[in-house]
Symmetry: C2
Subunit: 242 residues, 2 copies
DNA sequence: GCCGATTTGTCCGTATGTATC
DNA sequence: CGATACATACGGACAAATCGG
Protein backbone atom coordinates (compact mmCIF):
# COMPACT_ATOMS: atom_id res chain seq x y z
CA UNK A 1 0.00 0.00 0.00
CA UNK A 2 1.78 3.07 -1.28
CA UNK A 3 1.51 6.16 0.85
CA UNK A 4 3.24 8.24 -1.77
CA UNK A 5 1.98 11.78 -2.29
CA UNK A 6 1.37 11.27 -6.01
CA UNK A 7 -0.72 8.21 -5.21
CA UNK A 8 -2.87 10.17 -2.79
CA UNK A 9 -3.48 12.85 -5.41
CA UNK A 10 -4.16 10.18 -8.04
CA UNK A 11 -6.82 8.51 -5.90
CA UNK A 12 -8.36 11.80 -4.89
CA UNK A 13 -8.70 13.05 -8.47
CA UNK A 14 -9.93 9.65 -9.63
CA UNK A 15 -12.67 9.68 -7.05
CA UNK A 16 -13.68 13.22 -8.01
CA UNK A 17 -13.86 12.21 -11.67
CA UNK A 18 -15.96 9.13 -10.97
CA UNK A 19 -18.36 11.06 -8.77
CA UNK A 20 -18.63 13.79 -11.38
CA UNK A 21 -17.21 16.56 -9.21
CA UNK A 22 -15.42 17.23 -12.50
CA UNK A 23 -18.04 16.78 -15.24
CA UNK A 24 -17.41 14.76 -18.39
CA UNK A 25 -15.58 16.82 -21.01
CA UNK A 26 -14.70 19.58 -18.53
CA UNK A 27 -11.14 20.72 -17.87
CA UNK A 28 -9.55 19.79 -14.58
CA UNK A 29 -7.93 22.54 -12.48
CA UNK A 30 -4.59 23.54 -14.01
CA UNK A 31 -1.39 22.01 -12.73
CA UNK A 32 -0.57 25.30 -11.04
CA UNK A 33 -3.87 25.23 -9.18
CA UNK A 34 -3.43 21.61 -8.13
CA UNK A 35 0.07 22.38 -6.84
CA UNK A 36 -1.41 24.94 -4.50
CA UNK A 37 -4.35 22.76 -3.49
CA UNK A 38 -2.18 19.81 -2.58
CA UNK A 39 0.86 21.82 -1.50
CA UNK A 40 3.33 19.78 -3.48
CA UNK A 41 5.67 20.13 -6.45
CA UNK A 42 4.69 20.19 -10.09
CA UNK A 43 6.32 16.83 -10.83
CA UNK A 44 4.19 15.18 -8.18
CA UNK A 45 0.96 16.56 -9.62
CA UNK A 46 2.06 15.59 -13.12
CA UNK A 47 2.76 12.03 -12.08
CA UNK A 48 -0.77 11.66 -10.70
CA UNK A 49 -2.21 13.12 -13.90
CA UNK A 50 -0.16 10.84 -16.11
CA UNK A 51 -1.46 7.77 -14.28
CA UNK A 52 -5.01 8.99 -14.78
CA UNK A 53 -4.22 9.43 -18.48
CA UNK A 54 -3.01 5.86 -18.80
CA UNK A 55 -6.21 4.73 -17.09
CA UNK A 56 -8.16 6.54 -19.81
CA UNK A 57 -9.63 8.97 -17.29
CA UNK A 58 -8.12 12.19 -18.63
CA UNK A 59 -6.29 13.53 -21.63
CA UNK A 60 -3.69 16.30 -21.49
CA UNK A 61 -3.57 18.98 -24.17
CA UNK A 62 -0.55 21.22 -24.40
CA UNK A 63 -1.50 24.87 -24.01
CA UNK A 64 -5.11 24.03 -23.18
CA UNK A 65 -5.46 21.92 -20.11
CA UNK A 66 -6.41 18.44 -18.95
CA UNK A 67 -9.80 17.12 -20.01
CA UNK A 68 -11.94 14.61 -18.18
CA UNK A 69 -12.82 11.86 -20.70
CA UNK A 70 -14.03 9.28 -18.21
CA UNK A 71 -17.16 7.40 -19.20
CA UNK A 72 -18.40 4.59 -16.99
CA UNK A 73 -18.71 1.38 -19.00
CA UNK A 74 -21.67 -0.86 -18.58
CA UNK A 75 -20.83 -4.37 -17.55
CA UNK A 76 -23.25 -6.89 -18.92
CA UNK A 77 -20.90 -9.82 -18.43
CA UNK A 78 -17.96 -11.03 -16.41
CA UNK A 79 -15.39 -8.35 -17.13
CA UNK A 80 -11.66 -8.92 -17.32
CA UNK A 81 -9.22 -6.03 -17.35
CA UNK A 82 -6.10 -5.51 -15.25
CA UNK A 83 -4.17 -8.20 -13.41
CA UNK A 84 -6.38 -9.77 -10.81
CA UNK A 85 -7.34 -13.17 -9.49
CA UNK A 86 -10.64 -14.89 -10.18
CA UNK A 87 -11.66 -14.06 -6.62
CA UNK A 88 -10.92 -10.37 -7.06
CA UNK A 89 -12.69 -10.24 -10.42
CA UNK A 90 -15.76 -11.94 -8.98
CA UNK A 91 -16.00 -9.43 -6.17
CA UNK A 92 -15.56 -6.49 -8.54
CA UNK A 93 -18.29 -7.93 -10.74
CA UNK A 94 -20.59 -8.38 -7.70
CA UNK A 95 -20.86 -12.13 -8.19
CA UNK A 96 -20.42 -15.12 -5.91
CA UNK A 97 -17.39 -17.23 -6.83
CA UNK A 98 -16.79 -20.92 -6.34
CA UNK A 99 -13.93 -23.11 -7.52
CA UNK A 100 -13.78 -26.87 -8.10
CA UNK A 101 -10.37 -28.47 -8.64
CA UNK A 102 -10.62 -31.05 -11.44
CA UNK A 103 -6.95 -32.03 -11.62
CA UNK A 104 -3.83 -31.40 -9.59
CA UNK A 105 -0.59 -33.00 -10.73
CA UNK A 106 3.15 -32.44 -10.86
CA UNK A 107 5.12 -32.75 -14.08
CA UNK A 108 8.22 -31.66 -15.91
CA UNK A 109 8.08 -29.32 -18.89
CA UNK A 110 8.67 -31.36 -22.03
CA UNK A 111 9.32 -30.03 -25.52
CA UNK A 112 5.68 -29.28 -26.20
CA UNK A 113 4.76 -27.70 -22.89
CA UNK A 114 7.96 -25.70 -22.83
CA UNK A 115 7.22 -24.19 -26.24
CA UNK A 116 3.65 -23.37 -25.29
CA UNK A 117 4.21 -21.98 -21.81
CA UNK A 118 7.60 -20.29 -22.06
CA UNK A 119 9.09 -22.33 -19.20
CA UNK A 120 12.48 -23.85 -19.86
CA UNK A 121 12.59 -27.52 -20.74
CA UNK A 122 12.79 -29.90 -17.79
CA UNK A 123 11.48 -27.33 -15.31
CA UNK A 124 9.36 -28.92 -12.55
CA UNK A 125 5.80 -27.62 -12.67
CA UNK A 126 2.44 -27.94 -11.01
CA UNK A 127 -0.50 -28.46 -13.36
CA UNK A 128 -3.92 -27.49 -12.09
CA UNK A 129 -7.25 -27.75 -13.86
CA UNK A 130 -10.07 -25.82 -12.27
CA UNK A 131 -13.71 -25.14 -12.94
CA UNK A 132 -14.89 -21.66 -11.95
CA UNK A 133 -18.49 -20.95 -10.95
CA UNK A 134 -20.18 -17.58 -10.76
CA UNK A 135 -23.48 -17.45 -8.89
CA UNK A 136 -23.57 -21.23 -9.03
CA UNK A 137 -23.08 -21.50 -12.78
CA UNK A 138 -19.86 -23.03 -14.21
CA UNK A 139 -18.50 -20.43 -16.64
CA UNK A 140 -14.71 -20.71 -16.83
CA UNK A 141 -12.30 -23.58 -17.25
CA UNK A 142 -8.75 -22.78 -16.13
CA UNK A 143 -5.58 -24.65 -16.98
CA UNK A 144 -2.67 -23.42 -14.85
CA UNK A 145 1.01 -24.25 -14.93
CA UNK A 146 3.03 -22.98 -11.95
CA UNK A 147 6.80 -23.04 -11.65
CA UNK A 148 7.33 -25.34 -8.66
CA UNK A 149 10.49 -23.56 -7.62
CA UNK A 150 8.65 -20.27 -7.08
CA UNK A 151 5.37 -21.72 -5.82
CA UNK A 152 6.51 -24.39 -3.37
CA UNK A 153 4.03 -26.26 -1.22
CA UNK A 154 1.02 -25.74 -3.47
CA UNK A 155 -1.87 -28.07 -2.61
CA UNK A 156 -5.32 -28.81 -4.04
CA UNK A 157 -6.80 -27.09 -1.00
CA UNK A 158 -4.96 -23.87 -1.79
CA UNK A 159 -5.92 -24.16 -5.46
CA UNK A 160 -9.54 -24.44 -4.41
CA UNK A 161 -9.35 -21.22 -2.46
CA UNK A 162 -6.92 -18.74 -4.03
CA UNK A 163 -3.44 -19.37 -5.35
CA UNK A 164 -2.75 -15.65 -5.63
CA UNK A 165 -3.57 -15.08 -1.99
CA UNK A 166 -1.19 -17.91 -1.10
CA UNK A 167 1.50 -16.40 -3.27
CA UNK A 168 1.15 -12.91 -1.92
CA UNK A 169 0.28 -13.51 1.73
CA UNK A 170 2.11 -16.74 2.54
CA UNK A 171 5.06 -16.75 0.16
CA UNK A 172 5.47 -12.98 0.01
CA UNK A 173 5.75 -13.20 -3.76
CA UNK A 174 4.18 -10.39 -5.67
CA UNK A 175 2.69 -10.39 -9.13
CA UNK A 176 3.84 -7.61 -11.38
CA UNK A 177 3.60 -8.04 -15.13
CA UNK A 178 1.28 -10.17 -17.22
CA UNK A 179 1.36 -10.75 -20.98
CA UNK A 180 -1.97 -11.87 -22.33
CA UNK A 181 -3.35 -13.11 -25.60
CA UNK A 182 -7.05 -13.25 -26.34
CA UNK A 183 -8.34 -15.64 -28.98
CA UNK A 184 -11.51 -17.50 -29.88
CA UNK A 185 -11.19 -21.28 -30.10
CA UNK A 186 -13.44 -24.22 -30.78
CA UNK A 187 -15.00 -25.96 -27.81
CA UNK A 188 -13.23 -29.10 -26.69
CA UNK A 189 -14.64 -32.28 -25.25
CA UNK A 190 -13.59 -31.10 -21.78
CA UNK A 191 -15.35 -27.75 -22.23
CA UNK A 192 -18.59 -29.44 -23.17
CA UNK A 193 -18.34 -31.89 -20.29
CA UNK A 194 -18.19 -29.19 -17.65
CA UNK A 195 -19.86 -26.14 -19.14
CA UNK A 196 -23.35 -25.70 -20.50
CA UNK A 197 -22.51 -24.43 -23.96
CA UNK A 198 -26.04 -23.76 -25.26
CA UNK A 199 -25.01 -24.81 -28.77
CA UNK A 200 -22.16 -22.29 -28.88
CA UNK A 201 -19.24 -23.98 -30.61
CA UNK A 202 -16.57 -21.47 -29.50
CA UNK A 203 -14.81 -20.35 -26.34
CA UNK A 204 -13.23 -17.03 -25.43
CA UNK A 205 -9.68 -17.94 -24.46
CA UNK A 206 -7.16 -15.85 -22.56
CA UNK A 207 -3.66 -17.19 -22.23
CA UNK A 208 -1.26 -15.37 -19.96
CA UNK A 209 2.34 -15.45 -18.83
CA UNK A 210 2.75 -13.88 -15.42
CA UNK A 211 5.96 -12.56 -13.87
CA UNK A 212 6.82 -11.96 -10.25
CA UNK A 213 8.58 -8.87 -8.90
CA UNK A 214 11.95 -10.41 -9.71
CA UNK A 215 10.97 -10.52 -13.36
CA UNK A 216 10.77 -14.32 -13.39
CA UNK A 217 7.84 -16.03 -15.07
CA UNK A 218 6.15 -18.25 -12.50
CA UNK A 219 2.81 -18.95 -14.18
CA UNK A 220 1.27 -19.86 -17.49
CA UNK A 221 -2.50 -19.99 -17.67
CA UNK A 222 -5.12 -20.75 -20.24
CA UNK A 223 -8.51 -19.46 -19.18
CA UNK A 224 -11.45 -20.66 -21.25
CA UNK A 225 -14.60 -18.59 -20.86
CA UNK A 226 -18.15 -19.34 -21.92
CA UNK A 227 -18.62 -16.74 -24.66
CA UNK A 228 -21.95 -15.37 -23.49
CA UNK A 229 -20.50 -14.33 -20.12
CA UNK A 230 -17.25 -12.83 -21.22
CA UNK A 231 -16.00 -9.29 -21.69
CA UNK A 232 -12.49 -7.91 -21.92
CA UNK A 233 -11.77 -4.21 -21.52
CA UNK A 234 -8.78 -2.20 -22.53
CA UNK A 235 -7.56 1.39 -22.78
CA UNK A 236 -5.00 2.25 -25.40
CA UNK A 237 -3.16 5.56 -25.69
CA UNK A 238 -1.49 6.31 -28.97
CA UNK A 239 2.07 7.54 -28.88
CA UNK A 240 3.07 10.31 -31.21
CA UNK A 241 4.42 8.27 -34.07
CA UNK A 242 7.89 8.26 -35.51
CA UNK B 1 7.77 12.67 -34.47
CA UNK B 2 9.20 13.42 -31.07
CA UNK B 3 12.86 14.29 -30.92
CA UNK B 4 12.82 14.27 -27.15
CA UNK B 5 15.87 12.86 -25.43
CA UNK B 6 13.88 10.32 -23.42
CA UNK B 7 12.30 9.09 -26.63
CA UNK B 8 15.68 8.60 -28.24
CA UNK B 9 16.87 6.58 -25.25
CA UNK B 10 13.60 4.64 -25.22
CA UNK B 11 13.98 3.63 -28.87
CA UNK B 12 17.65 2.84 -28.48
CA UNK B 13 17.12 0.57 -25.49
CA UNK B 14 14.08 -1.02 -27.11
CA UNK B 15 16.12 -1.89 -30.19
CA UNK B 16 18.91 -3.32 -28.04
CA UNK B 17 16.42 -5.48 -26.16
CA UNK B 18 14.77 -6.78 -29.31
CA UNK B 19 18.12 -7.61 -30.90
CA UNK B 20 19.28 -9.33 -27.72
CA UNK B 21 22.18 -7.00 -27.07
CA UNK B 22 20.68 -7.32 -23.59
CA UNK B 23 19.79 -11.01 -23.17
CA UNK B 24 16.46 -12.18 -21.81
CA UNK B 25 16.43 -12.13 -18.00
CA UNK B 26 19.64 -10.09 -17.79
CA UNK B 27 19.88 -6.79 -15.95
CA UNK B 28 20.17 -3.63 -17.98
CA UNK B 29 22.96 -1.18 -17.15
CA UNK B 30 22.11 0.73 -13.98
CA UNK B 31 20.47 4.14 -14.18
CA UNK B 32 23.75 5.69 -13.14
CA UNK B 33 25.54 3.97 -16.03
CA UNK B 34 22.88 4.99 -18.52
CA UNK B 35 23.11 8.60 -17.34
CA UNK B 36 26.78 8.60 -18.25
CA UNK B 37 26.29 6.73 -21.53
CA UNK B 38 23.62 9.11 -22.77
CA UNK B 39 24.93 12.18 -21.00
CA UNK B 40 21.59 13.21 -19.57
CA UNK B 41 19.82 13.51 -16.26
CA UNK B 42 18.44 10.71 -14.13
CA UNK B 43 14.83 11.76 -14.72
CA UNK B 44 15.29 11.43 -18.45
CA UNK B 45 16.70 7.91 -18.20
CA UNK B 46 13.94 6.92 -15.80
CA UNK B 47 11.26 8.17 -18.15
CA UNK B 48 12.62 5.98 -20.96
CA UNK B 49 12.75 2.97 -18.62
CA UNK B 50 9.23 3.53 -17.38
CA UNK B 51 7.90 3.51 -20.95
CA UNK B 52 9.72 0.25 -21.60
CA UNK B 53 8.13 -1.14 -18.44
CA UNK B 54 4.64 -0.24 -19.61
CA UNK B 55 5.44 -1.97 -22.91
CA UNK B 56 6.25 -5.11 -20.94
CA UNK B 57 9.88 -4.98 -22.05
CA UNK B 58 11.53 -4.53 -18.66
CA UNK B 59 10.72 -4.67 -14.99
CA UNK B 60 12.35 -2.47 -12.34
CA UNK B 61 13.35 -3.93 -8.99
CA UNK B 62 14.23 -1.58 -6.19
CA UNK B 63 17.72 -2.21 -4.92
CA UNK B 64 18.46 -4.79 -7.60
CA UNK B 65 18.24 -3.37 -11.09
CA UNK B 66 16.12 -3.40 -14.22
CA UNK B 67 15.48 -6.79 -15.80
CA UNK B 68 14.83 -7.51 -19.45
CA UNK B 69 11.63 -9.58 -19.61
CA UNK B 70 10.98 -9.17 -23.33
CA UNK B 71 9.82 -12.28 -25.14
CA UNK B 72 8.80 -12.04 -28.78
CA UNK B 73 5.29 -13.37 -29.24
CA UNK B 74 4.48 -15.62 -32.11
CA UNK B 75 1.72 -14.36 -34.34
CA UNK B 76 -0.36 -17.16 -35.75
CA UNK B 77 -3.26 -14.90 -36.66
CA UNK B 78 -4.16 -11.31 -37.41
CA UNK B 79 -2.98 -9.58 -34.24
CA UNK B 80 -4.60 -6.53 -32.71
CA UNK B 81 -2.84 -4.55 -30.01
CA UNK B 82 -2.33 -0.81 -29.71
CA UNK B 83 -4.23 1.88 -31.58
CA UNK B 84 -3.74 1.43 -35.28
CA UNK B 85 -5.71 1.39 -38.49
CA UNK B 86 -6.56 -1.73 -40.47
CA UNK B 87 -3.93 -0.69 -42.98
CA UNK B 88 -1.25 -0.35 -40.33
CA UNK B 89 -2.20 -3.67 -38.73
CA UNK B 90 -2.09 -5.44 -42.08
CA UNK B 91 1.38 -4.15 -42.81
CA UNK B 92 2.64 -5.11 -39.35
CA UNK B 93 1.18 -8.58 -39.87
CA UNK B 94 2.84 -8.86 -43.30
CA UNK B 95 -0.45 -9.28 -45.11
CA UNK B 96 -2.02 -7.63 -48.12
CA UNK B 97 -5.09 -5.56 -47.21
CA UNK B 98 -8.13 -4.74 -49.29
CA UNK B 99 -11.34 -2.94 -48.33
CA UNK B 100 -14.79 -3.05 -49.87
CA UNK B 101 -17.35 -0.44 -48.81
CA UNK B 102 -20.75 -2.10 -48.35
CA UNK B 103 -22.67 0.89 -47.07
CA UNK B 104 -22.08 4.61 -46.73
CA UNK B 105 -24.86 6.75 -45.29
CA UNK B 106 -25.47 9.82 -43.18
CA UNK B 107 -27.78 9.75 -40.19
CA UNK B 108 -28.59 11.38 -36.88
CA UNK B 109 -27.97 9.60 -33.60
CA UNK B 110 -31.30 8.43 -32.22
CA UNK B 111 -31.99 7.10 -28.74
CA UNK B 112 -30.68 3.64 -29.52
CA UNK B 113 -27.54 4.63 -31.41
CA UNK B 114 -26.72 7.32 -28.90
CA UNK B 115 -26.84 4.84 -26.03
CA UNK B 116 -24.71 2.34 -27.87
CA UNK B 117 -22.08 4.65 -29.31
CA UNK B 118 -21.72 7.35 -26.67
CA UNK B 119 -22.53 10.18 -29.10
CA UNK B 120 -25.07 12.71 -27.91
CA UNK B 121 -28.61 12.39 -29.25
CA UNK B 122 -29.26 14.17 -32.51
CA UNK B 123 -25.58 14.37 -33.46
CA UNK B 124 -25.04 14.10 -37.24
CA UNK B 125 -23.02 11.00 -38.08
CA UNK B 126 -21.57 9.06 -40.96
CA UNK B 127 -22.27 5.35 -40.94
CA UNK B 128 -19.91 3.12 -42.89
CA UNK B 129 -20.03 -0.63 -43.30
CA UNK B 130 -16.88 -2.19 -44.69
CA UNK B 131 -15.61 -5.62 -45.52
CA UNK B 132 -11.90 -6.15 -44.85
CA UNK B 133 -9.82 -8.63 -46.83
CA UNK B 134 -6.43 -10.02 -45.93
CA UNK B 135 -4.54 -11.78 -48.69
CA UNK B 136 -7.74 -11.89 -50.69
CA UNK B 137 -9.87 -13.49 -47.97
CA UNK B 138 -12.70 -11.53 -46.30
CA UNK B 139 -12.04 -11.73 -42.55
CA UNK B 140 -13.40 -8.64 -40.84
CA UNK B 141 -16.69 -6.78 -41.00
CA UNK B 142 -16.50 -3.21 -39.71
CA UNK B 143 -19.36 -0.97 -38.66
CA UNK B 144 -18.13 2.61 -38.16
CA UNK B 145 -19.89 5.69 -36.86
CA UNK B 146 -18.02 8.98 -37.33
CA UNK B 147 -18.99 12.33 -35.85
CA UNK B 148 -19.67 14.42 -38.95
CA UNK B 149 -18.57 17.63 -37.27
CA UNK B 150 -15.06 16.29 -36.71
CA UNK B 151 -14.76 14.22 -39.88
CA UNK B 152 -16.18 16.56 -42.54
CA UNK B 153 -16.05 15.64 -46.19
CA UNK B 154 -15.83 11.88 -45.72
CA UNK B 155 -16.57 9.96 -48.92
CA UNK B 156 -16.89 6.29 -49.90
CA UNK B 157 -13.63 6.67 -51.79
CA UNK B 158 -11.81 7.73 -48.63
CA UNK B 159 -13.50 4.94 -46.68
CA UNK B 160 -12.21 2.46 -49.22
CA UNK B 161 -8.66 3.61 -48.75
CA UNK B 162 -7.99 4.76 -45.20
CA UNK B 163 -10.12 6.99 -43.02
CA UNK B 164 -7.30 7.38 -40.49
CA UNK B 165 -4.90 8.64 -43.11
CA UNK B 166 -7.54 11.17 -44.18
CA UNK B 167 -8.05 12.26 -40.58
CA UNK B 168 -4.38 12.65 -39.83
CA UNK B 169 -2.96 13.88 -43.10
CA UNK B 170 -5.81 15.91 -44.57
CA UNK B 171 -7.74 17.10 -41.54
CA UNK B 172 -4.76 17.29 -39.21
CA UNK B 173 -6.77 15.52 -36.54
CA UNK B 174 -4.86 13.12 -34.37
CA UNK B 175 -6.04 10.02 -32.62
CA UNK B 176 -5.09 9.75 -28.99
CA UNK B 177 -7.12 7.52 -26.70
CA UNK B 178 -9.20 4.46 -27.47
CA UNK B 179 -11.46 2.51 -25.11
CA UNK B 180 -12.11 -1.00 -26.30
CA UNK B 181 -14.28 -3.90 -25.32
CA UNK B 182 -13.70 -7.43 -26.58
CA UNK B 183 -16.56 -9.91 -26.61
CA UNK B 184 -17.65 -13.03 -28.45
CA UNK B 185 -21.01 -12.83 -30.19
CA UNK B 186 -23.17 -15.05 -32.34
CA UNK B 187 -22.84 -14.72 -36.08
CA UNK B 188 -25.45 -12.55 -37.76
CA UNK B 189 -27.05 -12.89 -41.15
CA UNK B 190 -24.73 -10.18 -42.47
CA UNK B 191 -21.64 -11.95 -41.14
CA UNK B 192 -22.61 -15.16 -42.90
CA UNK B 193 -23.38 -13.36 -46.12
CA UNK B 194 -19.94 -11.86 -46.47
CA UNK B 195 -17.60 -14.12 -44.51
CA UNK B 196 -16.89 -17.79 -44.95
CA UNK B 197 -17.67 -18.97 -41.45
CA UNK B 198 -16.75 -22.67 -41.79
CA UNK B 199 -19.55 -23.68 -39.41
CA UNK B 200 -18.26 -21.37 -36.67
CA UNK B 201 -21.29 -19.81 -35.02
CA UNK B 202 -19.39 -17.03 -33.19
CA UNK B 203 -17.49 -13.86 -34.01
CA UNK B 204 -14.71 -12.09 -32.11
CA UNK B 205 -16.03 -8.56 -31.65
CA UNK B 206 -14.10 -5.45 -30.71
CA UNK B 207 -16.05 -2.28 -30.05
CA UNK B 208 -14.14 0.92 -29.55
CA UNK B 209 -14.69 4.56 -28.73
CA UNK B 210 -11.90 6.73 -30.08
CA UNK B 211 -10.99 10.24 -28.97
CA UNK B 212 -9.04 12.94 -30.79
CA UNK B 213 -6.33 15.08 -29.23
CA UNK B 214 -8.94 17.52 -27.92
CA UNK B 215 -10.47 14.70 -25.89
CA UNK B 216 -13.60 14.59 -28.05
CA UNK B 217 -14.99 11.25 -29.15
CA UNK B 218 -15.18 11.24 -32.94
CA UNK B 219 -15.61 7.53 -33.67
CA UNK B 220 -17.47 4.46 -32.55
CA UNK B 221 -16.61 1.20 -34.24
CA UNK B 222 -17.71 -2.38 -34.05
CA UNK B 223 -15.19 -4.68 -35.64
CA UNK B 224 -16.35 -8.27 -36.21
CA UNK B 225 -13.53 -10.76 -36.81
CA UNK B 226 -13.66 -14.28 -38.10
CA UNK B 227 -12.63 -16.21 -34.98
CA UNK B 228 -10.00 -18.40 -36.61
CA UNK B 229 -7.97 -15.38 -37.74
CA UNK B 230 -8.12 -13.25 -34.66
CA UNK B 231 -5.72 -12.50 -31.85
CA UNK B 232 -5.64 -9.69 -29.31
CA UNK B 233 -2.54 -8.95 -27.28
CA UNK B 234 -2.14 -7.00 -24.10
CA UNK B 235 0.40 -6.19 -21.39
CA UNK B 236 -0.82 -5.47 -17.91
CA UNK B 237 1.26 -4.16 -15.03
CA UNK B 238 -0.12 -4.60 -11.55
CA UNK B 239 -0.10 -1.59 -9.27
CA UNK B 240 0.79 -2.09 -5.68
CA UNK B 241 -2.64 -2.48 -4.15
CA UNK B 242 -4.27 -0.33 -1.52
C1' DG C 1 -1.11 39.45 -37.02
C1' DC C 2 1.33 40.41 -32.76
C1' DC C 3 2.09 40.04 -27.94
C1' DG C 4 1.72 38.59 -23.39
C1' DA C 5 -0.45 35.40 -20.12
C1' DT C 6 -1.60 30.77 -19.32
C1' DT C 7 -0.91 25.85 -19.67
C1' DT C 8 1.32 21.71 -20.64
C1' DG C 9 5.96 19.30 -22.24
C1' DT C 10 10.79 18.43 -21.52
C1' DC C 11 14.96 18.54 -18.88
C1' DC C 12 18.16 19.43 -15.27
C1' DG C 13 20.33 19.02 -10.49
C1' DT C 14 19.73 17.73 -5.94
C1' DA C 15 18.11 15.55 -1.72
C1' DT C 16 16.22 11.87 0.86
C1' DG C 17 14.10 7.30 1.52
C1' DT C 18 14.07 2.30 0.95
C1' DA C 19 15.53 -2.19 -0.62
C1' DT C 20 19.25 -5.21 -1.87
C1' DC C 21 23.70 -7.13 -1.61
C1' DC D 1 27.69 -1.98 8.15
C1' DG D 2 28.61 0.44 3.80
C1' DA D 3 27.96 0.56 -1.15
C1' DT D 4 24.76 0.20 -4.79
C1' DA D 5 20.32 0.58 -7.00
C1' DC D 6 15.79 2.18 -7.64
C1' DA D 7 11.66 5.35 -5.66
C1' DT D 8 9.92 9.65 -4.39
C1' DA D 9 9.97 14.55 -4.14
C1' DC D 10 11.44 19.31 -4.69
C1' DG D 11 12.50 23.59 -7.30
C1' DG D 12 13.96 25.79 -11.25
C1' DA D 13 14.52 26.59 -16.25
C1' DC D 14 13.15 26.89 -20.92
C1' DA D 15 10.26 25.28 -24.93
C1' DA D 16 5.90 24.75 -27.33
C1' DA D 17 1.03 25.34 -27.90
C1' DT D 18 -3.05 27.99 -26.98
C1' DC D 19 -5.92 31.87 -26.13
C1' DG D 20 -7.50 36.55 -25.51
C1' DG D 21 -6.87 41.37 -26.18
Amino acid sequence: MPKAIYDHIYRDLKEKIESEVFPYQALLPSEHTLIQEYGCSRNTVRRALSELASDGYVQSMQGKGVRNIYLPVEQTAFTVGGIESFLESAIRNHQTPYTKVLQFTELEAGEKISGKTGFSKGAPLYYVQRLRYLNGVPLILDHNYFLKELVPGLTPEIAEHSVYEYLEKTLGLSITTSKRTMTVERVTQIDETYLDMNDYNCMAVITSQTFNDDGIQFEYTQSRHRPDHFQFQDISVRKRSS
